[in-house]
Amino acid sequence: MGLTLSWLSVIILIPLAGLFLKSLELSPEQFWNILSSRRTLNALRVSFGLAFAAACVNLVMGSIIVWALVRYRFPGRKLFDAIVDVPFALPTAVAGVALTSLFAEKGWLGAPLAALGIKVAFTPLGIFVAMIFIGIPFVVRTVQPVLQDLEIELEEASGSLGASRWQTITRVILPSLAPALLTGLALAFARAVGEYGSVIFIAGNLPNVSEIAPLLIVIRLSEFRYADATAIAVIMLVVSFVIIFAVNRLQRWAQNRVPVH
């Protein structure tokens, strides 16, 4: 026990406490000035805005993938099921260079898209693509077990009582999946907000346009503007705390809700 706690404090508590102590060295006014500067605000807007948009895409596409994997049998199903975990396992820098060369103007997908007048790499759209890539397993892996365990009888009851298939899906299945879907959305969002490796290669990193908040932290650090880096980090950290907290509450709520059925 003692060992656990002391190791935990050495590795996690002391570093985090250091971060908050450092931010306390700033006066509220300084803190506010750093955060409300145009470049910081834009970086936060890019990170949070695109992460949310990407998480929404993942929610929709993740649900479709889960549905296909759980409910249908098709050739290659097991392979596709395993492939979902690739963004978890692939180092982010590798994902970053791969996506960039794929979507660059001469890349396999970039070239046809460029012909259509769509530029992906080195624009905010590229950040969006990278965030979709890293977020997809979160939605699939949170929703999949819930859909697998869903009681067949509920759907049969609904169907035999005259509900159309669409009604059964939207009124019976979706509500049962809602907590898992929201958890998946939150996890994908949290991951995308903090993502660095897979985004910076494809982003273009133009200040105010395609610069993500984690990159701005790195830039401030390399300029030895530690206070600026710390202030941005604290804001991002607080947001991820809130997200974990919300996810935990959501899961407890979902667990308590089950006996009602």
């Binding site: 026990m1 656990t4 706690l5 190791w7 935990l8 590795i11 996690i12 508590l13 002391i14 570093p15 985090l16 971060l19 102590l21 596409m61 479709i64 993938i65 296909a68 994997l69 409910r71 098709f74 290659g76 596709f80 395993a82 492939i83 975990d85 690739v86 963004p87 396992a89 692939l90 180092p91 982010t92 820098a93 590798v94 260079v97 791969a98 060369s101 794929l102 396999w108 693509v129 890539f133 997809i136 759907e155 169907g159 298939r165 949290a190 903090g194 660095y196 490796g197 290669f201 908040a213 984690p214 932290i217 790195v218 650090l221 530690y226 710390t230 980090a233 991820s240 997200i243 974990i244």
Partner: protein, 303 residues
């Protein structure tokens, strides 16, 4: 399932036919029209192919674009070799530390009750949700020249930041949850009966741990180590902040990928990247095999 039942034409007796109809009707309540099924499967496959399969293929295609000799030449470059060595050393240190800690933490959390347990679990989970850049930043704030311990470290001539200890620390921080997270549910499920039996039969605490607890969780331990190792070798953001990018000295493989890529040495960058991609693929295959073992273990316990 649906297709098999509906399509099987070997049922001849009227009774069997009626039953088949009833089954088909029952299944119709639970499935979608054929066209919808095809569209959903196609969408899922297309999305996964574009976003997941293609990036993987690109890595190998680019790495081998100038032929196999250029590929191996890039890998045997002294800088590449030193990056590979550093990555292995750092992964060994952080996996080792987190293995020992993860075992102890999971044991404490699963087998005992104490105040603040939920808080402890939240702390263990934290590195999963913190931006890797912030994980690196906290160590710069502690050990950097202007950091809290920076002055003391300089006086004692200890180099942590921009050196192997800093990289190992940041990696350990980031990979902290894997082993503990893999073991906690497993150990909770197994309960404390077997340990209590061993102790009451006269085994010491350590004997109980090595002879009773450890054999029960060996697949879980392997699972945690596997994921921990994959992340440790591939970590980029946190390591990038603390490494200092000293060529041939503090560049891990992911950092070298970045440097080579930014210098337009694409074959070399993708050659290193292909090693990391292979690591990811091997990890996934091993993970699938281990998951089967873990499931079997659970089935045995259920019966």
């Amino acid at each position: 399932m649906t297709m098999q039942i509906a399509d099987s034409g070997s049922l001849t007796s009227p009774d069997a036919k009626a039953r088949a109809h009833a089954l088909a009707a029952r299944d119709n309540l639970r499935t979608e029209p054929r066209a919808v099924r095809i569209v959903i499967i196609a969408l899922a496959m297309l999305f996964l192919s574009v976003f997941v399969v293609l990036p993987l293929v690109v890595v190998f295609a680019q790495a081998l674009s100038k032929g196999i000799f250029a590929y191996f030449a890039a890998l045997s470059d002294p800088e590449a070799l030193s990056a590979i060595k550093l990555t292995l050393v750092v992964a060994a240190i952080s996996v080792g530390l987190n293995l020992v800690f993860g075992l102890v933490a999971a044991w404490a959390i699963a087998k005992f009750d104490f105040p603040g347990k939920t808080f402890l679990i939240t702390l263990i989970d934290l590195p999963f949700s913190v931006s890797p850049v912030i994980s690196g930043l906290v160590f710069v704030l502690l050990f950097g020249a202007q950091g809290y311990f920076g002055g003391w470290l300089r006086d004692h001539d200890i180099q942590i930041l921009f050196a192997v200890p800093g990289i190992a620390l940041a990696t350990t921080f980031v990979t902290f949850p894997f082993v503990a997270r893999a073991l906690i549910p497993l150990m909770q499920e197994q309960g404390t009966q077997e340990e209590e039996a061993a102790i009451s039969l006269g085994a010491s605490g350590l004997q109980t741990f090595f002879r009773v607890t450890l054999p029960n969780i060996k697949w879980g331990v392997l699972y945690g180590v596997l994921l921990c190792n994959a992340r440790a070798m591939g970590e980029f953001g946190a390591v990038s902040v603390v490494s200092g990018h000293i060529r041939g000295e503090t560049n891990t493989m992911p950092l070298l990928v970045e440097i080579l890529y930014n210098e337009y040495q694409f074959v070399a960058a993708f050659a290193i990247a292909s090693l990391l991609a292979m690591l990811a693929l091997i990890t996934l295959i091993a993970k699938t095999i281990l998951e089967r073992h873990l499931d079997e273990g659970q089935d045995v316990n259920d019966h």
